[in-house]
Symmetry: C2
Subunit: 368 residues, 2 copies
């Protein structure tokens, strides 16, 4: 058996998984539909109350003129880039080297839209104002991902965002927000979504991360922008006859979880501190700025250690391990509804075990 | 009120709508989920039992090596065209002037894939073998839509398809089937899906037409082809974390309706004959070859005539009218579960009224 599968299998059987909202099974959708009237009509190719009302609700929430529901963020963001590039007559955008469009979309942006990305900053840090000010290339759009997921979910300060936004506006560069985890960062900034989105010309948010829906995304901006986005949505094959399974669940869990993000943020800081108290373990960021962080720890014999913790304490830490280098590996933590249900005694026991077992390994290795 | 809306509103209130399976409301999905175990796990970016099993089931049904589930036919077919064009190094495909890619996709094929279409035949007839044999351009792929929906759902004879297929194979042209209504034509050909699909290199089928699911499509072909299609699916933003709402409903209604298409076909012929018995009314084709056909009738004062029929007999004929020219309009009929539930007396009464009222109008106009 593949060792990754072994960890995933064991994690799924734990009584107290620390990460996420729960299993991604059919209950997630059944729960929503059980509370809904079956006579509600489907949306039809982007029209109808079910889609139009939700689009209006999210446009208002994000403080934008208009919003369009998409089956995926991949479609939504490529389209945003395409619109801004066509408007400027320049097929060049800038983003982080670990941007979703760069590493998770099989080069759709290049192969479908012939848009060339300029990579700002490096893989280990955020894009800073300095990177934008010193950029050599002329670009149509700058995409910022908040938080920058692949480096653990880091964030620039709000004042730095303001400065970047002001520079872009002054220089005819559109600013796009990859807000896949927008809800997750508002407690840190202590801002409303509208306050944050005001700095951006276009905004994408996702409904299956912190919100915990089935799938789906919203792209928001001015009316002219979303009108064009709807045409591109059809071109991309994203204008389905019915998107309601995603919309009704996005709406349901949006209402249910929107006020829990402050709690997830506090819990993420608590859990990160537990990790950081373990020998040779460090989180990134050291103090989380959202509901997420990465954990880095010694690679050697880690899998059996985790499996023994899951079995003895019932606490599940992670489903996967990712190799960082010869010495270290890492995994991602994002807090959802499940963390609050974990008994503190089990949690303490699990972290006591983690600390002890890693000490043993490091000590043994040191002697060899 | 928009007169089209008036017809749609009135149709929705009729006791005996003649067309389709029923209302596209949340019941369609609730019915499926009520019968399913909530513990069934979601698919995850194209993996997992729920998607893999359905793909295998449809590959077997279509007689192809492999199949990929897509959120929409628009994504699936553009991708099929792209793969065949890249393989041949030639960005040119041929299809009918009223092909879905040409008239319903906002030029996605051209704007996302830079593929140039060659339009075969004209808007009023099918693509024939002769059109293929005399084609001047070199193309990578020929797309055939069976039945050709926009001209009423016509079909070439099977022997002609065989000849086209043989010519394409001999000349290095890939043959793609737009089988949005594939299930609907098998009773006419008296062939299995696999027998028909054997003539084609790639096949797309839809699950929200005759099958009556929520949305979604399958693209099938050889393993190498579907492997590439999965990469393009991700590029297009169609590789959602969860497609299961569409998959489980496609599977459910596939099983439920697959054996009803012979009945729909017989009923379509019966209903077309009722239309053709009315004065100045004609169906296209005259004798249907699937569950669908178009009805052409005098435009003048037709809307009040239909409204009075709906009101007096409870029979709903159509939700929309489309202008053909100054004299004629048309609408589409596709038979689903609802037709069998219409009492024959109500049906006879409705067609008696239609015939009489159109005679009155035509006679009155003749006198003016």
């Amino acid at each position: 058996m593949n060792p990754h599968n072994q960890l995933l299998t064991a994690y799924k059987q734990t009584a107290y998984p620390l990460v996420g909202h729960g299993k991604r099974n059919l209950h997630v959708l059944k729960t929503v539909l059980n509370e809904m009237d079956g006579d509600i009509e489907s949306d039809a190719y982007g029209t109808g109350a079910v889609i139009e009302n939700f689009q209006k609700k999210l446009a208002d929430y994000l403080g934008k003129e208009s919003a369009v529901f998409f089956p995926s963020g991949t479609v939504a963001q490529q389209i945003a880039m395409r619109i801004w590039c066509e408007q400027k007559g320049l097929n060049k955008v800038a983003y982080h080297p670990l941007c979703h469009l760069e590493i998770h979309e099989e080069d759709g942006l290049k192969k479908l839209h012939q848009i060339e990305p300029v990579l700002l900053a490096d893989e280990n840090r955020l894009i800073r104002l300095e990177d934008v000010l010193t950029m050599q290339e002329n670009i149509a759009c700058l995409l910022l991902e908040l938080p920058q997921r692949e480096i653990g979910g880091e964030l620039p300060e709000y004042t730095e965002l303001e400065a970047i936004s002001a520079y872009c506006r002054a220089n005819g560069i559109k600013l796009h927000l990859d807000g896949a985890r927008l809800f997750e960062i508002l407690p840190y900034y202590q801002k409303s979504a509208a306050d944050l989105c005001r700095l951006f010309d276009s905004v994408y948010v996702s409904f299956y991360k912190g919100i915990g829906g089935i799938a789906g995304a919203i792209l928001a901006g001015e009316e002219d922008f979303t009108k064009e986005a709807k045409v591109w949505k059809r071109r991309h094959g994203g204008d389905l006859i019915s998107l309601y399974p995603y919309i009704v669940s996005a709406d349901y869990y949006f209402d249910q979880r929107l006020h829990s993000f402050q709690q997830y943020f506090e819990e993420a800081k608590e859990l990160a501190s537990l990790y950081n108290q373990c020998h040779a373990v460090e989180t990134r960021p050291l103090v989380p700025v959202s509901n997420m962080f990465h954990v880095r720890l010694p690679k050697e014999q880690l899998e059996p250690v985790l499996l023994s913790i899951y079995e003895e304490t019932g606490v599940g830490l992670t489903t996967h391990l990712k190799k960082v280098d010869e010495r270290l590996c890492s995994f991602e933590v994002s807090i959802g509804d499940q963390y609050a249900q974990v008994p503190k005694t089990a949690l303490r026991k699990a972290f006591h075990m983690l600390d002890e077992k890693i000490r043993e390994i490091v000590f043994r290795e040191g002697k060899d």
